[in-house]
């Protein structure tokens, strides 16, 4: 896999996770189910990419975590946005919009 593709996917995953957590704190499985639900199955985030992404964002202080109870009373690690995380979300959203507009224009121009 060429590295620029990894880079893009990774950045996108971060954005999606941030967005998902903007409403309420969620645990890992919650995040991946929510993503699958919202994107109608387009994105299925495997634990192999989810965990590293969560931990990376936590180390960067975008997310904070705490242990809590899941909806069916099981112990689970929850993640929530920090203040830095929210700012990051705005920034990333803005950037994503620019990119998608630019890509859309390019595609139209060429058609």
């Amino acid at each position: 896999m060429p590295s620029n593709q990894v880079e893009l996917l990774q950045g996108t995953l971060d954005l999606l996770i941030l967005k998902t957590l903007a409403l309420a704190p969620l645990h890992g499985l919650g995040i991946s189910q929510r993503l699958e639900q919202v994107t109608r199955g387009t994105f299925q985030v495997k634990p192999g990419s989810l965990f590293p992404a969560l931990h990376r964002m936590e180390e960067r202080d975008w997310l904070a975590s705490f242990w809590g109870e899941s909806e069916n009373n099981r112990r689970a690690k929850f993640y929530e946005l920090t203040r830095t995380g929210r700012r990051r979300l705005e920034l990333e959203t803005e950037r994503w919009k620019q990119i998608s507009i630019a890509v859309a224009r390019t595609l139209e121009a060429n058609s």
């Binding site: 499985l29 931990h55 202080d61 112990r75």
Partner: protein
């Protein structure tokens, strides 16, 4: 803020690892539990749900490894982990560790030794402030030289202010006699312009230095002594400043001591005292008072300090303008004059670029660098062998989520540990080696600084060599080890033997054999050359001759009293029991000094373009040829009747007779010397040629004139005794001192010892010893390599050999199969080594006497030696392979 949080994560990760690990475990397992619960809610049984969940998860240990890699400071943990793991492995394989560390140490030690020499001789800067801005000037008239005439120096100093903040000059290094409180001893001095110390910005350790004055050739009767001379020869006298003393009989006042560690600007030589340049005329004997005002002289060395902001390159153009101007003003004598500045930072090299010190350094650097490569090939081989045994370990680790990069790093970390241990060992070996070399007796009383101690440069070099070794020897094995095929490796099959890997190892061993052959050939050439040097027909008999350096002028004797002193000395020495013959000579073979004379020979005209006739000259007393056992073939000896007032006479060597009077009888013919046109010298005898120096060139023409007719105060008293004993030596020194206790006696050596000087055999002996030790080390490495490869491949083929023997193969056939590989390795290695040796033949050739750099005897002999040792090394494992019990060999699979 961001850095703060990164920092806190870093410390959490670093110090609360256990908690972090536990939390990660919990998180992953709670994820699984939630997933299972989710699936069970959808109606699966618990068993099905767990199975599905596990499939969805993938490998949980891989996930954890991924997360660990993401953590801040992950590289540090993994590095520490690698190191810990490496240490454990090395401890578990003490033999392997010992071998690898030893090989590393040898490679690094040899290189560090050579480097510490190069550092001490060529790289260590002069210990003065801003030494990188110090330069020395060289000029080209007929050829490049260091020496300038004093008037030229003054011109340069006056005109070069644009580029240089100051320009100073000195008269180089010579021996004077210093007498303090009635005790007199030799002192090696330089006569400097009065701005010398202010240009260097040197501060005195005590008192003051030569004072700056308008008059550069100040005649103040003062002198400065060096710190080590003050400590070692003046007893560290605290009241030395202001002390009255006599230098060569002239009254001077010692006004100060130079700082510790300052040994002057000339490399290697240690200057012990400094006097004002203007003092030169009053302290030196008549015949040395040549040429300070002579515009054609070359008696002073010129040093200059660059202005701030002026580069060396910029200063060259300023000097070029000055040279051009001087040439234009003196078209007769200074046509095409060129002047350049060279940085003093890296020592003073001879200006024509033919610096043998530099060439020798390069040669030995090449050789020791080769040894380093051999060492790294050897370690690489060891690592490769070990890597084969670790295939399974690597496979398991990569199955558990270790990335390939991680495995490479792991193996490199282990090699790095070996490299560090090797560095330590190498530094120890290197300091031993360099201290051995700096203690080599130089057979001369000339004070020298052979300081090869370890400074930061040597240490960084050793560390650099270690890192180089680590990378070179570790990288390929590391990449190989990490390239594991899980399926192959995990399948139980130790017989799956990679021929590719074996091929690389074979290549390494071929390179080792070749490299060590090259080292051995060079060693062989040096040894043969040394042998030739030591068996050279010198033309005189050094046995039973003792030399004593004497110089009455340094005790204040003028020429008349000096001649009288020597006349009486010879008389009394010849009367001693056991003395067969005694005589005086201005220079001795292989000695530090040489005299030459440019000649005008009656009836001889040099061919156009050829140099003017010239000869080595020696000034000798009567009996000189008897003392040295130089046969007179024609005419007569020098006699006591040859005096100041009689006809000037000369004895010439056969080489001189053949050069300047070919086919004619030279006896009775005359010549004049360029420096002394007033006297005509008449040839009265012919002697056999002798070797006086420069062993690498043909014998040059030589002439001998009576000391009485050309008096020099510095002489070597040469005494042929029936037996050399320390009593005889003490007796003769005592005799000189009984005549005058203030006359110094120095450079007391037997003639055999004197031949072992830096100008004589010493360098040949050193070079042969150094090349031989490198050759032997290389040989050991090569033999270990050959043995290792053959015994490994024999072990790999145990199974195959077992089958062959079981099927009826005779031991001889088995032996042949195994040996064939050894023979191939050795043959390829030999070819490679011979080519490599021929490639550096030119560099080696300039150091050899009477032996060609492609000497077939050496090449064949050394190749045969190496081949037989290497074949023996491969024969042992091959022979062992033939003793394999087929049943055992087959069963052990």
């Amino acid at each position: 803020m961001k850095w703060l949080s990164l920092g806190s994560s870093f410390f959490r990760n670093l110090f609360r690892r256990k908690q972090a690990e536990q939390s990660l475990d919990d998180e992953v397992s709670s994820y699984v539990e939630l997933l299972v619960a989710e699936k069970m809610k959808r109606g699966l049984t618990e068993q099905e749900a767990r199975r599905d969940a596990r499939l969805e998860m993938g490998g949980s240990s891989q996930i954890k490894e991924e997360v660990r890699n993401i953590r801040v400071g992950a590289w540090l943990f993994t590095f520490l982990q690698d190191i810990r793991h490496g240490l454990r492995l090395l401890r578990n394989q003490p033999l392997f560790t010992l071998a690898a560390v030893l090989i590393f140490s040898i490679g690094i030690g040899a290189n560090t030794t050579i480097f510490s020499m190069v550092n001490g001789l060529l790289m260590r800067p002069v210990p003065v402030p801003g030494s990188e801005r110090l330069t020395y000037l060289i000029q080209k008239r007929d050829r490049w030289r260091n020496g300038f005439s004093y008037p030229d120096f003054e011109e340069v100093r006056r005109q070069a202010g644009e580029a240089f903040s100051d320009v100073a000059a000195l008269r180089i290094f010579q021996m004077d006699g210093l007498s303090v409180n009635g005790k007199s001893q030799p002192i090696w001095t330089e006569y400097v312009t009065s701005n010398f110390f202010s240009m260097l910005e040197v501060r005195p350790a005590m008192g003051s230095l030569i004072p700056s004055s308008q008059n550069l050739k100040s005649k103040d009767p003062v002198m400065v002594v060096s710190y080590s001379y003050w400590k070692n020869h003046l007893g560290g006298d605290p009241n030395i400043v202001g002390q009255k003393a006599t230098l060569n009989g002239t009254l001077v006042t010692i006004i100060g001591v130079t700082p510790e560690g300052f040994t002057g600007l000339t490399p290697i030589l240690e200057t012990q005292g400094y006097l004002p340049l203007g003092m030169y005329a009053s302290t030196q004997p008549q015949q040395n008072k040549d040429d300070l005002s002579d515009p054609r002289g070359d008696g002073v060395l010129v040093f200059a300090r660059l202005q701030d902001g002026i580069t060396l390159g910029k200063s060259q153009s300023v000097l070029a303008v000055i040279a051009h101007r001087l040439a234009a003003e003196n078209p007769a004598t200074k046509k095409d004059l060129m002047i350049r500045a060279a940085s003093l930072g890296s020592g003073m090299l001879s200006p024509d670029g033919s610096n043998s010190l530099l060439a020798a350094s390069i040669l030995f650097f090449v050789l020791s660098g080769l040894l380093l490569l051999l060492a790294s090939a050897n370690v690489a081989n060891l690592l490769l062998v070990r890597a084969i045994g670790r295939n399974r370990e690597m496979a398991v680790r990569s199955a558990l989520g270790a990335r390939r990069f991680r495995l490479v790093r792991q193996v490199l970390a282990e090699t790095l540990l070996l490299g560090l241990l090797g560095c330590a060992g190498g530094a120890v070996l290197g300091s031993v080696g360099s201290s051995i070399i700096s203690r080599v007796p130089l057979q001369s009383d000339i004070p020298m600084v052979l300081d090869f101690h370890f400074d930061w440069r040597v240490f960084s070099f050793a560390v650099g060599a270690g890192v180089f070794l680590t990378l070179v020897s570790g990288l390929v094995p590391a990449l190989r080890a990490a390239r594991v095929n899980l399926n192959d490796a995990l399948r139980e099959s130790s017989r799956s033997y990679s021929s590719h890997r074996q091929r690389f190892r074979t290549f390494l061993v071929v390179a080792q054999v070749g490299g060590s052959l090259m080292l051995l050939i060079v060693a062989g050439l040096f040894v043969r050359s040394l042998h030739n040097v030591q068996n050279l027909d010198l033309g005189f008999d050094p046995g039973h001759v003792i030399n004593f350096g004497v110089d009455p002028h340094t005790a204040g004797y003028d020429d008349v009293r000096g001649r009288e002193f020597y006349r009486e000395l010879l008389e009394r020495v010849r009367a001693l029991p056991g003395v067969e013959s005694a005589s005086l000579a201005a220079t001795i073979p292989m000695g530090p000094e040489d005299l030459g004379a440019e000649l005008k020979i009656e009836g001889y005209q040099e061919a156009p373009g050829q140099p003017k006739p010239a000869a080595d000259m020696n000034l000798v007393s009567s009996s000189y040829f008897q003392t040295m056992h130089i046969p007179v073939v024609h005419g007569r000896h020098i006699q006591d009747t040859d005096t100041e007032t009689s006809q000037r006479v000369a004895i010439i060597s056969e080489a001189m007779a053949q050069t300047y009077w070919p086919g004619r009888d030279p006896i009775g013919r005359t010549f004049t010397r360029s420096g002394d046109p007033g006297h005509t010298w008449q040839v009265v005898g012919i002697v056999k040629n002798i070797r006086k120096g420069l062993l690498m060139t043909p014998v040059s023409p030589a002439l001998y004139v009576p000391m009485a007719q050309d008096y020099r105060s510095r002489q070597t008293l040469q005494v042929r005794t029936s037996a050399i004993s320390s009593e005889a030596i003490t007796q003769i020194i005592g005799l000189v001192h009984s005549m005058d206790a203030t006359v110094p006696v120095f450079d007391v050596r037997t003639m055999t010892q004197a031949l072992d000087s830096p100008d004589g055999f010493l360098l040949f002996r050193l070079a042969a010893a150094m090349a031989s030790s490198m050759g032997l080390l290389g040989l050991v490495l090569a033999v270990v390599g050959v043995y290792g490869v053959i015994s490994y491949s024999a072990a790999q083929r145990t199974h195959e050999i077992g089958i062959r023997i079981a099927l009826g193969a005779r031991p001889g056939q088995v032996l042949k199969t195994i040996l064939r590989q050894g023979v191939m390795i050795v043959l390829c290695g030999l070819a490679f080594g011979i080519l490599a040796a021929i490639a550096i033949a030119k560099l080696v050739g300039s150091f050899l006497v009477d032996v060609s750099a492609v000497d077939p005897v050496t090449y064949v002999g050394v190749s045969a030696l190496l081949a037989s040792i290497a074949l023996l090394a491969s024969f042992i494992p091959a022979w062992r392979a033939t003793r394999v019990d087929p049943m055992l060999a087959l069963r052990c699979e």
